[in-house]
Each structure stands twice: as structure tokens, then as C-alpha cells.
Symmetry: C2
Subunit: 231 residues, 2 copies
DNA sequence: AAATTTTAGTGTTCTTTTTACACTAAGTAC
DNA sequence: GTACTTAGTGTAAAAAGAACACTAAAATTT
């Protein structure tokens, strides 16, 4: 990359912010960090940071997830780019935002390693957020709600093996509406995307449910044949 | 905005590029401009330009549409942010892309006003594009194809008044599949989103079709009541 | 060890939506 | 006024979605 053609325009700074979703079996949660510095010192915020010259915005988002929340190998997808001129009081900052879906249980312990204060908040009990982060979160929720029905991304929020009841509870939490158990099972099993495992729940005070896992390979094959996931 | 907190990181340049869709009654078209300078001199490209400090990326995209293609008051929506490190051979450039839907007929004359060479290309006959613009176009087509069915954005590609056959032809072109005439009419009229005008086609060598217009007000009201557009 | 509590797991009927399909009407060109 | 072309219309069959209630199995309590 030669410097000879460098553009002279003053440039907005470029950051990446992440909306991190988790699911605890009953409710959707968001991972937030507490800001240590001004502006918005001590306010909760989305983890974010500046995009370096040698990384894509997605790589940046993944780096931030790792550095600020201890999350690794996580599903992320671009959400939207926010560019309001006054979104940061210090200077012009454009943010390419991502949303991440993580298996909360799997990461709970790792999340504390960094020195920052990191906490899960129920969507219904979000604190006031720094910058325009509330707006970003709202869009992320809307996107997740829209996408969960026609793309099999919900599995990213669950353990690799899960029961059908857990899966249903997840859909009910995200869509914010009850789903008929029999119809749900009929539909999801009818797609042929779930592998029934020879394993059941243990130490539950009721009939133990069978575990299933998402069959990624089958999904790819079906998709090629024109199949469309739809809950 | 004080300069005291300015970040020292070297910054990617930020641009905005626009994928402009038009419809000529039979086929989807794309508006491209020919590059006057290196790199990719004389190659066709998406209109684009640098984001200034005092404008959002969306305002930038609208400015570019106006400056480079003579388009004004156009429907645009953010597509995706492309940030591959090597997408421009000169230096690191991140591009926030938009797609625009325009009534091609309405703008045909104005488009030539700028000094740049500007031309409509059928999607099936796109030339080799500069930079990663082919990738951007592919994503835009995919997005349009996905969105046209559940958001009433197709009307942006038609004149304010249109016949049902024109509307159907548009859907068939975008979805790349034939649609049954009677079922299409039943569905679209059943939504109550079209105002039947007291006006018919003129100078056509066959039965003249009635004109309709999209009823934006009805759409907003229905949407509030939980209605979901769906073709 | 019997009874209680709790969630897992299963089919059928009715309703709604989607699909498939063919003829008459109205305008212009010749 | 005949030919040509596209507009405009309804019904029946198939598929998908919605509504609904009981038995099975595990741990806990009595």
C-alpha cells in the first residue's frame, strides 16, 4: 500500500461495538461492561474499541470480545453502522456494530478474567447505557427477533446438546410469545436438522428429557437443495 | 467537540458506496459510473466517495447519489460495511454501503447532468467492476431479493401510479420466478395497501389496465395494528 | 414402598392459507 | 369488423398452521 495517493480529508475515528446475547434458560441477557473513564464514567456500556489498520471490523469485534469479556470462538454477525455526528462527545466516531450469540453457561467463569467489571443483565432490567448504546441494543434485539425465525442461529445461545424444551423456551423468550409444545416439536423435528442423542438429562426431579444437537452438515445439504429454515 | 481527547490510532479512511437499482418494466438494472482515474481507470464502479466529518454515512450516500448520478429524494437503506484490509490498493478504506431503489423512468434525463459517464446495466449483463464492487452488488441483490417479500419497498422502483401487471412483473424480476396472476392480485389487493385510481393506461394496443398507487398511510396504520406485509 | 410433584412426550381435528387453473372483456391495429 | 394482445375475474384441492389433553418417567415426600 503506497502512501502516494493518501487522501487528505479529516477522518472520522472508526470503532466496533458488540451486543452480546446470552440465555440462562428463562430469559435473554446482555453482557455489559462498566466504563472506567470519562465520558460516561461508571456507566454501563457495550464493549467496544478502535479498529486497527491491519484488521477488518469483524476481526476487531472478535478481538474486543476476547480482550474485554474473555469470549472466544463466538458467533458474531454485523448489525449496523452508526454514524450520527454527535454520538461521542469527544470527537467524531463511526461505529460498526456486531451482535454475538454465546452459550452463557460455557463462558461464565472465563468472563471475569479481564480487569474490567463485566456483568450479565436481563433485557428487562437494562441500566441506562453510555453513548447511543441503548439505540444499538434496541436494533440488535429487533434483528435477533426477526432473524431467529428464518435462520438457525438460536442454537448458538444453547449448549451443544440441548433438550427440546430448552430450545422452545429460547424461542419463547426471544419472540416474546408462548409456543404450542406439540406443534413446535412437530415442526423442528420435521426439518431433519436435529440429531437425537442417546443421552438424557440427569438429576432432574421429573421425567428426564432427551438431548439433541444441531446437525450442521444436514443443514448445509438441505440448504443447497433449496430448503428454508422456518419456525 | 474538543480535540483534547483525540485518539492517536492511525485511522482507516471511510467511504460510502451506493448500489442503485432501477426497473425498466422487464428487468432489474444497476446504475454504474465509469472511473476516470487510477486505480481501475475506465472500469465501471459503484458511485462512492469519502465521508466528511459533518455528515452521517447516510447523508454522505445521498450526497453522492446527487453529485455523481443526479438522483434526489431517493429511497436508500444501509446494506453492509465492507472492511477487508486490501479492498483498495492505495490505502486502507472501509466502506459503508447503501442500496437505493429509484424509479428509473423518472430520473433517466437528469442522470446525465454530471460530467461523469453514467449508465444503466441489466443485472444479467454487468461488466467487470472495480475494487470489490461485484461482491457488494451480489450482497445487495441478495438483500433486495430477501426483503422485497416482507417489506413494501418494491414500489420505490415504480412510478407513483402503476398497474398490477407492472407490479407483478417487478416481483417476478426480483424473485426470479413466475407468479400466478390471480393469486398475486388476490393477495396484494387483499392487504388493503393499494389505492385504485380512476385512471387507466392510454395508447396501449390492448385492454387498458387500471392504475393503482401505494397507500402509505394505510400501511402505517395497519403496521401499528400488527399487520405484516407478505408477498 | 406408596403417593405426590413435575416435566417429557405424543396425534388428531379444524381452520386458514396456498396453489393450480381458463375463460371473457376491452382496447388498438390492420 | 376481424385479429391481436393484455386486463381482469372465481373455485376447488392441497398444504400448512392452530388448537387441544392425556400418559410416562424421574425424583421427592410421606
Amino acid at each position: 500500500m503506497s502512501k502516494t495517493h493518501q487522501y487528505k480529508f479529516p477522518r472520522p475515528a472508526l470503532t466496533s461495538d458488540c451486543v452480546i446475547f446470552g440465555f440462562d434458560g428463562g430469559e435473554l441477557k446482555l453482557l455489559l461492561i462498566e466504563r472506567e473513564k470519562e465520558p460516561f464514567k461508571n456507566r454501563w456500556a457495550l464493549p467496544g474499541g478502535f479498529v486497527f489498520l491491519d484488521e477488518t471490523t469483524e476481526e476487531c469485534a472478535k478481538r474486543i470480545l476476547q480482550e474485554k469479556a474473555g469470549l472466544k470462538n463466538v458467533f458474531i454477525e454485523q448489525l449496523y453502522t452508526f454514524s450520527e455526528v454527535d454520538r461521542d462527545p469527544r470527537e467524531r466516531i463511526v461505529s460498526v456494530t456486531y451482535y454475538a450469540l454465546v452459550d452463557k453457561q460455557h463462558y461464565e467463569l472465563i468472563a471475569g478474567r479481564d480487569t474490567l467489571k463485566v456483568e450479565w443483565f436481563a433485557l428487562s432490567e437494562l441500566p441506562k447505557l453510555a453513548f447511543d448504546h441503548t439505540k444499538i441494543v434496541k436494533l440488535a434485539i429487533q434483528r435477533l427477533k426477526g432473524k431467529i425465525s428464518y435462520r438457525p442461529i438460536g442454537f448458538e445461545l444453547l449448549n451443544e446438546k440441548f433438550t427440546l424444551s430448552q430450545l422452545q423456551a429460547l424461542y419463547e423468550a426471544i419472540l416474546e410469545q408462548p409456543i404450542d409444545k406439540r406443534n413446535f416439536r412437530k415442526k423442528i423435528l420435521g426439518m431433519g436438522l436435529l440429531k437425537a442423542l442417546n443421552e438424557k438429562e440427569k438429576n432432574v426431579a421429573h421425567k428426564a428429557a432427551r438431548y439433541y444437537s444441531f446437525d450442521n452438515r444436514a443443514y448445509r445439504e438441505l440448504t443447497q437443495k433449496g430448503f428454508h429454515f422456518q419456525i
